[in-house]
Symmetry: C2
Subunit: 366 residues, 2 copies
């Protein structure tokens, strides 16, 4: 779905066939798109697996093969917090997404048509397993670190629970062991905005006529939940909307913050498939680490040597208490754990914005 | 719009004709629905004017004429915080609403058809002026107290700015001098859910086919912003939805919190006109007390003897800092002001839920 004019650094891992889905069903001929930076050492023990949030592709940062900026540009590279001169860093596009990995927008080999809603139920556990198989396909037995922000943090937790011994260290950023009812409410309203758009057509929209209105509303609400009131007070206050974005439609946008939401939403909906959004969003509501056992027991048998858990005080969607609980359970399980609550004002998305604070915490741990 | 099987306690005040709207335009033959409790004393100085939040009618509490429960049942009555044995309490249905007061769903006398979007721009100031005229129509020169929660708190502030000397005391609950960009974002997404519903038809929906889907989404999001994450963690946790509310539709609700939102939304959209919602919601975004002058100067010349400002620590939509700012400006202006931050976990709606805490604060002041 993402058009690249400047090359493509993606590689593809073929998943086991059939690939068993955690809630039932299987995939045939599924694959994962990933990118790598740095080099695997001879002992094959310097690999970091990076899972993403809900929407990014595997392109975490620019490279000679793809010089376009990545979603974590500035965090990853030679001499940066995720130092590609020391580590072999693998970023995967999540199973269920639409940037090269198999998902609801992919072709079902059984029919030759896109899966759409015939794609089996997607779970955070499936995203973890697909990442695990990607790592194994690269000849890596044990990761130095499994990590991720947001959804990626949930996936990293699932990874340690499902594959004991598969990672030496855990780095969980703004993640949770289970979504709160508040987060579920906010995400389910986003999904309802999409499924209520007549253009969604029960998931059977033509590729050139997706449910853009519902997707725009969903993304705007998503953006609100990813940031914070304090940040917007600083950035926008009550500034009026830029005159070229104003309209004479009834109830059109009047404030700068509305223009910002609109611009972000327009950019997003052009790139992201609506059904993929629905599947991944729901997987976040459903995830519950405790389904696999008591978290302390899971962490005890995960074979982790150490862990870093980062949270942000202004995070509405994954509140700090949830990261605190992860760190507490890791500590109780005997894992040497550092808990770093950051005072950033950018909310859940702070890991994308305050690279200095996050870079210090991550670089210091690694 | 509200059907009452058990009588109707509403009375009506006729507004000046023409009634000038603050942003331009006039209304002809406009009226305000209100209810009263208690008796006006001979000095006519024991009246309390109560403005409501976005959606309630004038029926704040039950009475012999209308024994159905009101929106603030338990707060108002003989011996209660708003003591009708001491005070003459007037609650108005806001101008622009649809429970008896003139609004976009009312008939335009010039055409005989509903105003719909031909209703002039509505401002918080217009709601204040309509309340003021209602009070004057009852032969009251000066209120003991002007008060309101949420939107009602904004209206009460506008009242003191527009009508110096018209109230001896101010009681502002979970209000603000100006909406934050965060609140604007959350409300504008609600409006967009309604205006994006094809059934809205540019405001020209038939009375029996309103834009229910958009209204339901809007109300769900509204409800999220009125409560708090901590409350829902306590109430719902990750409980599944009640089996009779579950559905086999793709992406249907799975958690109890989703069922709660759906039930509230269904109840709301049957009663509230979509265009009225749009008008009142936008008036809240636009309100800015400072348009009338520096707040400290406004409060200085408002003729207030004292004020109580209440806020709630868990309020997302009208955060505590905004009530703190009101209290600070009142104090600077020389008004004897009590600022009461309440530790309730119910968020913005706490005034409807935690009657004990609010009752103590309000009763203590009055």
């Amino acid at each position: 779905m993402l058009t690249r004019t400047q090359g493509d650094a993606r590689r593809y891992a073929t998943l086991s066939d059939p690939f068993p889905m955690w809630r039932g069903g299987v995939l045939h001929g599924a694959r994962i798109a990933y990118e790598t930076w740095g080099a695997l050492n001879t002992r094959r023990d310097n690999a970091i697996l990076l899972f993403t949030g809900l929407s990014p592709p595997a392109h975490a940062t620019s490279s000679p093969q793809d010089p376009s900026p990545g979603w974590w540009e500035g965090m990853l590279g030679t001499g940066l917090a995720l130092d590609s001169s020391r580590y072999y860093i693998i970023c995967v596009n999540s199973l269920g997404s639409c940037f090269g990995s198999t998902g609801p927008a992919s072709e079902d080999p059984a029919t030759g048509a896109p899966y759409r809603l015939s794609f089996p139920d997607l779970s955070v556990e499936d995203i973890a397993r697909a990442g695990y198989e990607t790592v194994r396909s690269l000849g890596i037995e044990r990761l130095d670190t499994v990590m991720g922000p947001s959804l990626g943090g949930m996936v990293a937790l699932a990874y340690t629970a499902l594959f004991p011994g598969a990672a030496r260290r855990l780095l969980c950023i703004s993640g949770t062991q289970a979504a709160s009812p508040f987060a579920i409410a906010l995400r389910s309203i986003q999904r309802e905005a999409i499924t209520s758009d007549p253009a969604w057509r029960g998931g059977n929209y033509p590729p050139d006529a997706p449910p853009l209105t519902g997707q725009r509303i969903a993304r705007k609400l998503g953006t609100v939940t990813y940031r914070s009131a304090a940040e917007w007070q600083q950035r926008f206050g009550r500034e009026p909307i830029r005159s070229d974005m104003a309209s004479r439609d009834p109830f059109s946008s009047e404030f700068a913050v509305q223009g910002y939401l609109e611009a972000l939403a327009q950019r997003f909906v052009r790139g992201f498939d609506a059904n993929c959004y629905l599947y991944i969003s729901r997987s976040m509501d459903r995830f519950e680490l405790a389904r696999h056992g008591a978290p302390v027991e899971l962490f005890r048998r995960a074979g982790l040597e150490s862990a870093l858990v980062i949270g942000v005080v202004s995070d509405l969607l994954f509140p700090l208490a949830e990261q605190e609980a992860i760190a507490r359970d890791l500590t109780t399980a005997g894992v040497a754990t550092r808990f770093t609550p950051l005072p950033c004002i950018e909310g859940h998305d702070a890991f994308l914005v305050d690279l200095a604070s996050f870079g210090r915490a991550i670089g210091g741990f690694l």
